[in-house]
Symmetry: C2
Subunit: 430 residues, 2 copies
């Protein structure tokens, strides 16, 4: 088993929050069961977690997970089983599913993710074909992967209010494209087909701040249920909606948020006797891919940015201008793999944890964003699947650590459900 | 991985049936998905399979599986995930479940099964306690297992139309006791609680012949769907309802069935060019535990049984008289583990394959019942979980072999659903 050694020096409160979650595993699972009766889980999701030794929190919840290829092969049956549960919900009599990947067809790592996802979905008993939003894909195109497998991407065909491929009219459409560049017309006003996730989950519309507002709600309920301080699993955050890094407008809002959050973190650190230096992360409220992120320890650091810093912050994925920013309590990572900073990434399909791996970055410090050049992935063996707590054992054992990680990741997935309900276009609300 | 080498000398038709199932995996999974929409799967089940090299068939379908302890630890998350799906169906808001084990509290192997099952169910988020039907259990009794774990069995408490333990009123009751000795009054006329499996699944009521009639129906549909000869996955059988081995009545019926089945097997063997000698298995129509089973190659062997043979056949589990008998085409096993005859046992929870192990018997031949003294179990590693076919690979590879085994086992579980619907007491039918 490639399970990194997690027995790092843990301080008091960490053991406390993990112990409380483990001791209440029955109540925790029942609580989730009832929540999932009321809230439909995202079809799939991945959550980046940070464990600082006294706090475990999600820092990013991805609704278009792109690293299925990083999950260990042993996880495959669990993923297939979870996907079966999900598919039954949307189209039980389905024969076929259209998977729409990202356009970057030259990224072999990403294409391996697409191939793995296609395999998982096929094993649920669906014909799964790949349709591309890219105008460059004008005919079925076979792409060969490093392991010798190949996948075929085909041009999308819109037929009235249905979307498919030539000779292929699927029951469901699954996006693995996060729509950062906007919602293409070809995906709009479909009817009679299930589109997963819904369009407003794409980064053209989605905001991290909506997600973390929903996470606040989820954590408030959960923390009350099992009796923990919500802060132990939830970072403080604030939002600025009108930033223009190039024109230096909105800096006061940024500074004000940093000024407000740092003392709140300090008070919590004092309460728990934590000696670390508080820091906050400033990042785009829309979009992902680890772009435009800075880590600051003082309000002064966000005013008077130099040209290089401003350029870095101003541009998100697909070259889009960043104008909305989230300011979030930083959670440093105590996880190390081979001496390098690491953070667990937990994968879910429907309401089930189906796997996990570490994002490792040899070039970054424990207080920095690791989703950056230098990152690589270490897959974890099966006992890390997150479903099997053994309350009698120490919280530090790998299976218990991963149970806790699985709980926090599922809280983030549940928050995504709340978020998508709350941000749904009026007509779509139940 | 403890995966026994399955690359035994296979003859033509075997590869053909496996290849057809693998090539049609998408259609197979969709077919199951639609069937499970119409038919509720048993809460759990285990199926003994025989693979003769040209035929793969279920020979026993157990609705009270007693070997969860024989599944590899790696399977646990898959079992928990499947149990979560099942529990949600019956009582989503459940906090508690009562598990009723067999009475033989001195069988440490069996108690390990109970412990494992309790662990799986607890991990779904339920408080799980053990209630005993045994009159000897008068107070909570702690039983220590060989691995140092312990379980506590408690006396059942009937309170009006509800069943529980002292201070414990469960939402659901799960039987791991096959009710061979009859249906105890304490289990009758419960209301407002889910009882799983239903009482008519117990061996006091259940008949193997009803199961195999239902299996005939299931196989007819399935074989038509993927275009195979049903015989390749289904053994011929007949029934005698009025046998008294002690008084030598009913021998003519037995003989007649053997005379009818052997030529039908011979014809099929000729069709497929199989050189083996046909044989039939005679066994009690009710009950399990491998008691009262004989393997015969000629009708003469079932008439004029000597006293020893008659005594052996006449007594089933709990010392009950055997009067109904099923006569079934024998399927020899080509599976070997360490040179000994072996047969795969596939475990399911709800509609999911959650694990598998081999029953190995060093004292028995490939044409005999292996569920007999001398049997032991070899657990299988994770790739055997049965959910992950790779059609590009040879059918002989272990993951493909186990996919096929998982399909046949699920056909038997589906037959159990049909059977329980067809044999339900009038008031319970939908």
């Amino acid at each position: 088993m490639q399970v990194p050694n997690l027995k790092t020096a843990l301080s008091g409160p960490m053991a406390e929050v993990e112990r409380l979650i483990l001791d209440n595993a029955t109540a925790v699972e029942r609580w989730f069961r009832l929540e999932w009766q009321e809230h439909t889980p995202p079809f799939y999701s991945s959550v980046d977690l940070r464990n600082s030794g006294f706090k475990i929190a999600p820092v990013d919840t991805n609704l278009y997970p792109g690293g299925f290829n990083n999950l260990s092969r042993e996880m495959q049956p669990l993923a297939v089983q979870a996907a079966q549960s999900a598919i039954e919900k949307y189209c039980a009599d389905a024969k076929s599913l259209l998977l729409i990947p990202e356009n970057h067809t030259r990224n072999l790592f990403y294409l391996q993710n697409v191939a793995r996802l296609q395999t998982i979905l096929r094993q649920t008993g669906l014909e799964v074909r790949l349709g591309s939003l890219s105008p460059e894909v004008k005919a079925p195109t076979e792409l060969t992967l490093p392991d010798g497998q190949s996948i075929t991407v085909e041009p999308l065909v819109r037929n009235g209010d249905r979307l498919g491929l030539a000779g292929f009219d699927p029951c469901a459409i699954l996006l693995n494209n996060d729509l950062s560049a906007g919602i293409p017309a070809i995906l709009q006003n479909l009817s009679g087909q299930v589109l997963l996730p819904p369009l407003h989950a794409g980064w053209a519309v989605r905001r991290k701040s909506n997600h973390f507002h929903a996470y606040d709600e989820v954590v408030a309920k959960f923390a009350a249920e099992i009796g923990i301080d919500p802060w132990l699993i939830n970072p403080f955050f604030g939002v600025c909606g009108q930033i223009n890094f190039h024109e230096r407008t909105g800096e006061e809002c940024l500074k004000g948020n940093v000024e407000s959050i740092l003392p709140r973190i300090r008070a919590k650190y004092a309460e728990y006797g934590i000696k670390d230096e508080p820091f906050v992360i400033v990042k785009a409220d829309a979009g992902t891919y680890g772009m435009g992120i800075m880590s600051v320890t003082s309000p002064d650091e966000v005013v008077g940015l130099n040209r290089k810093q401003r350029n870095k912050m101003a541009v998100g994925k697909e070259g889009l201008e960043v104008s909305e920013v989230i300011i979030q309590e930083g959670v440093h990572t105590i996880e190390r793999v081979g001496g390098a900073s690491a953070e667990p990434v937990v994968y879910m399909i429907d309401r089930f944890v189906v796997g996990s791996f570490y994002r490792v970055n040899t070039l970054r410090s424990p207080t920095e964003n690791l989703n950056a050049p230098g990152a690589h992935f270490e897959s974890l063996g099966f006992e890390s699947a997150g479903a099997t707590p053994v309350p009698e054992d120490d919280p530090e054992t790998t299976h218990n650590r991963f149970y806790t990680y699985g709980v926090i990741a599922r809280l983030a997935a549940l928050a995504a459900s709340y978020e998508l309900e709350q941000t749904a276009p009026r007509a779509a609300r139940g």
